[in-house]
């Protein structure tokens, strides 16, 4: 049995060396496995990572990688149902209704595009179809074993159970007791080739709620999304991972199936195991559970679109109920590009409380309460950004000018050796600190493997060590140009003056009594009305408002 053993030696300087023992092997079907034994606690962090994310989508199905991640928890022909045959029939019946629902919805879109009201017969027909779908979905519940896969992990002591979808990767993970690693192999290999799209239409609603929660109902969610879309002109990073609402409504089980068959092949996956386990056991289980899975019919297609050179500065100015902020972003390079280490150092020199931006804008010029930088190099392209949180009363133009002056200095004057060494120390320490947890270590080597090889973790640190102050100036000059700027301003919008219910009640009561006062001549009736109004307004909690109301009533009383 061929097995490779190697050490991840983090030897960034003579003063510091650290070995991490990584074992690796690849099955004939192309699935790669990485193992790091650590015996502190009898638990194993297990992850399977796929090279697929929002970047592999297209308009019309944006968000499908993320919906697929949700649907992967719905089960297989074995998991999640008590009767696979009846379940398949139910899914077919539901799908047939939805074929018609989609036709009606397309017709609704057609009339809406023209700005005319939806005809009654169409609306009724659509409502009729929905009424047909709902009982079908309800009946199916009798044979659904609810969240079977998830429940079994938890019953067996799984923690940190989850999955996540990003632009470039999707990962499924859980930490299990070390005597139960086989459960992970059973369930993951099963859903990797035999997933069933049951409960799709209710899960799609869950994803829409997730979009409302994380984007639409936050102060700047939609603005940030729009800025990213402006930044990426051509690359398929232009849409959000969660997808556009209209696409979420349009995605079908057939779309899911195609995405799944293309990207969830073993040759597009990496399994990572960190904890109380050894490579021999992982190999045995991999041979048993994953080796039988077929390699994908053809390799997943690469992303071919490239971002065209930016032709001029782009700018977006928005208002939100949020602290003001300024963001400037530039296009850089993909992960593993030769300039990656120098860009990391440039970011470090600008970022943090001892970074140049914070020192200039917050401490010296007192224009902002925070400022920093980021470098986000993805699999197919990269972005460098700076962010400023100006003081509420600061002039945004001035804050932007100062921030850009700091950036321009970076492109003309080399950093000091101390600044450079500080960031090198931090980059190394960050990797070491993240490796303390099993999950942290698993994701460091797993992500690196997705972009090339886990060995690059060391390669990257070595490369960082070699960066000179002149390299930092060079990348700043090359990428952070005036023409390449993408600028976002978010200004604070005053909240809508919502009418306070108590004020509204007081006004209504006073207006009513004032309106009736002069028509009402009987002193007893007047007294009774005053008494009622006083009792009502006496309950007002806002003391100022109560006083004002009482004064008005007293005035009225004097007019007798």
């Amino acid at each position: 049995m061929p097995r490779l053993f190697a050490c991840l030696l983090l030897a960034a300087s003579a003063a510091f060396a650290q070995e991490i023992a990584v074992e690796e092997f690849t099955l004939d079907n192309g699935m790669k496995f990485l193992i790091v034994p650590r015996h502190e606690t009898p638990r194993v962090f297990c992850a399977i990572m796929f090279r697929v994310g929002a970047v592999n989508e297209r308009p019309g199905i944006t968000g499908i990688s993320h919906i697929l991640e949700h649907m992967m928890f719905k089960g297989t022909h074995t998991l999640g149902t008590s009767d696979a045959k009846a379940d398949a029939a139910a899914n077919d019946a539901i799908e047939q209704v939805w074929v018609d629902i989609r036709k009606d919805r397309a017709a609704v879109s057609d009339v809406e595009r023209k700005g005319v009201p939806v005809p009654d017969d169409l609306a009724q027909h659509l409502a009729g179809l929905m009424a047909k779908y709902e009982p079908l979905s309800k009946d199916q519940k009798a044979i659904i074993v609810k969240d079977d896969l998830w429940e079994r992990y938890m019953r067996n002591g799984g923690t940190n159970l989850n999955a996540s979808t990003g632009e470039d990767s999707t990962q499924y993970f859980v930490e299990v007791p070390s005597n139960k690693v086989e459960l992970y192999f059973w369930q993951e290999s099963d859903r990797m080739h035999d997933a069933v799209w049951r409960e799709f239409y209710s899960e799609r609603e869950v994803v829409k709620e997730e979009r409302r929660l994380s984007v639409e109902s936050t102060p700047t969610g939609c603005i940030d999304e729009a800025f990213e879309s402006m930044f990426w002109q051509a690359m398929p990073y232009t849409w959000p991972v969660v997808g556009w609402m209209s696409d979420l409504d349009a995605i079908t089980p057939a779309d899911l199936e195609a995405h799944y068959r293309t990207f969830y092949a073993p040759n597009n996956a990496v399994g990572v195991f960190v904890g109380d386990v050894d490579a021999k056991r992982v190999r045995e289980l991999a041979d048993e559970y994953f080796a039988p899975l077929a390699r994908g019919p053809k390799p997943p297609p690469p992303v071919v679109t490239k971002e065209p050179p930016q032709v001029g500065e782009r700018r977006m100015v928005a208002e939100a109920e949020s602290q003001p902020s300024i963001e400037v972003a530039w296009h850089t390079v993909a992960a593993r590009h030769a300039d990656e280490p120098a860009l990391s150092l440039l970011k470090g020199i600008l970022d943090g409380k001892t970074g140049r931006l914070y020192k200039r804008l917050v401490l010296e010029k007192k224009l902002a309460i925070d400022a920093g930088a980021s470098s986000d190099l993805r699999r197919w392209a990269g972005e460098f950004g700076i962010t400023v949180k100006p003081k509420e009363d600061a002039d945004l133009a001035e804050a932007e000018r100062e921030a850009l002056a700091v950036v321009d200095e970076g492109a003309s004057t080399p950093p000091t050796l101390d600044e450079l060494q500080k960031v090198k120390n931090q980059l190394l320490a960050q990797v070491v600190q993240r490796m303390r947890s099993n999950q942290g270590l698993a994701f460091i080597i797993g992500r690196s493997e997705l972009n090339g090889s886990w060995r690059d973790v060391k390669g990257q640190l070595d490369a960082v060590e070699k960066v000179t102050v002149y390299d930092v100036v060079d990348v700043a000059k090359k990428y952070l140009t005036a023409q390449g700027r993408n600028v976002l301003w978010v200004k604070r919008k005053a909240p809508e003056p919502g009418v306070d219910p108590e004020t509204a009640m007081v006004e209504k009561t006073l207006n009513r009594i004032k309106g009736m006062w002069h028509d009402m001549k009987d002193p007893a009736a007047r007294a009774q009305m005053l008494e009622q109004a006083r009792a009502r307004l006496g309950e007002v909690k806002n003391a100022e408002l109560r006083k004002k109301a009482e004064d008005t009533l007293n005035e009225l009383e004097k007019q007798q």
Binding site: F16, N29, R38, E40, T41, P42, R43, H77, T78, K146, D147, W150, R152, M154, R155, G157, T159, L161, P177, S178, N179, K180, E182, W186, D194, Y201, S202, E203, R204, E205, V206, K208, E209, E210, S217, P219, D287, E288, Y289, P292, L293, E321, S322, Q323, K353, V362, I369, K391, K422, N425, A429, V432, Q433, M435, R436, S437, E496, G498, D500, E502
Partner: protein, 481 residues
Amino acid sequence: MKAIVIALTVVSVALAEAPSHPDKLTYPPLDYLVPKPEDFRTTLANGVVVFIAEDHELPTLDVSATVRVGSYLDPAGKEGLAAAMGDQMRNGGTEGMEPQALDERLAFLAANVSSSVDLTKGTVSLSCLAKDADEALGLFFDVLRRPRFDEGRLALYKQETLQRMKGRNDRTNGIEDREWDRLMYGDHPETHLATKPSVEAITRQDLVDFHAKYYFPRDVILSVAGDFKREEMLAKLEAAFGGWADRDERVAPIAAPTNEPAPGVYMFPKTKVNQGRVSIGHLGIQRTNPDHYATTLLNYILGGGSFTSRITGRVRSDEGLAYSVNSRWQPGTYYPGVFRIAFQSKSETCAFAAKLCVEEMQKAIDAGVTEQELSGAKSYYVESFPNRFSSKREVVNTFADDEYTGREKGYYERFRENVEKVTLDDVKRVAKAYLHPDKLVIVVVGDLDAIRKGIAAHPATFDELGKVTELPLSDPFTLKR
């Protein structure tokens, strides 16, 4: 044979051992010895308690000091003082170093020192590479013992705090959490939040005085883990406390709230959001209550066990009404905690989803739970138990925290046994005893017009769930309504 329906080229692989269903898997036994606090606990010559563990997996050092203090000690009119002092211990420099110099040195060492004070606890922590241990430890103890409280940094902190304060009503979750606490705890340190006048009133002298009043050696519990030799590290710690005078009296812990929450539905308006946030619940129990094992299991089944729980299954999985929906029932450390169901749903379905949650609560009271549900819940807590001690750092931090809060001795040794002992009848009994549908406080934040409108397919209103009171948002600076 595991049923695999894929390309024929692979069937020759030996699958003999794989069972046809994961429930048929058998697992070797797993013995787990629970770490014992006494194996890590020691005291320095001056009586300071230290939990210490060598860990040579990585060349790092983690130190944390837990200090007997809290924002519950804030004087009236200076709410926010403890938090400001906690922040400025690290960010305001030390006697020996200007703040900028301290920042630069720690950044160069890539050592992280942070300090804070929350409601019931002060913390100073250090995380660094082991090779820099001596220098970093020196800076850590300077922050703990000899903060400088630089005037300029305090001014900056106040500015940041006031700017953040202005945004108190920006996010619906901020509004929801604040109003929930106010309705649960009433007039109590839990709700004594900083205001613009209280922050503006804080002076450098207040910080100096607060530190001088509460920070003494015996108020500190240390937890230390990393790549060092135990005896050498203890000698360094002894030295670090040198010359720090102590005192005899100790601070009284936080008092319990006396508020009796008024049941009802409390609605807070926020325009331009298409999703409402809802919290439903009432006061819970304290962790000294022996029923907390049963309530924890009940809550896992009701809404605490993510997808395995009833509320999540119904509201999210069946109906697609929410992405996040769960219930929490954390027993309180110093006084009863709260039972709280929370979800977010598009405005029109908030009331319907709330009704489903209350229905599930009532069902648990009326019919209890099933044997299968209870065994699943127990199994989760028993099988995942070692996760609490996943690293030496977590072991010493957990024990230091227990020492600080005075958790009963032997809690972890008996934990699994205590979980196993809970019966179906216990769960039924605690559901009736501790779930109170008649005492529900419901907080709703969102576009109230849309929320009231509801949805034709599932008619429901909040009026069905209690007396509705609509309240205005508080002024972010004064918190007055």
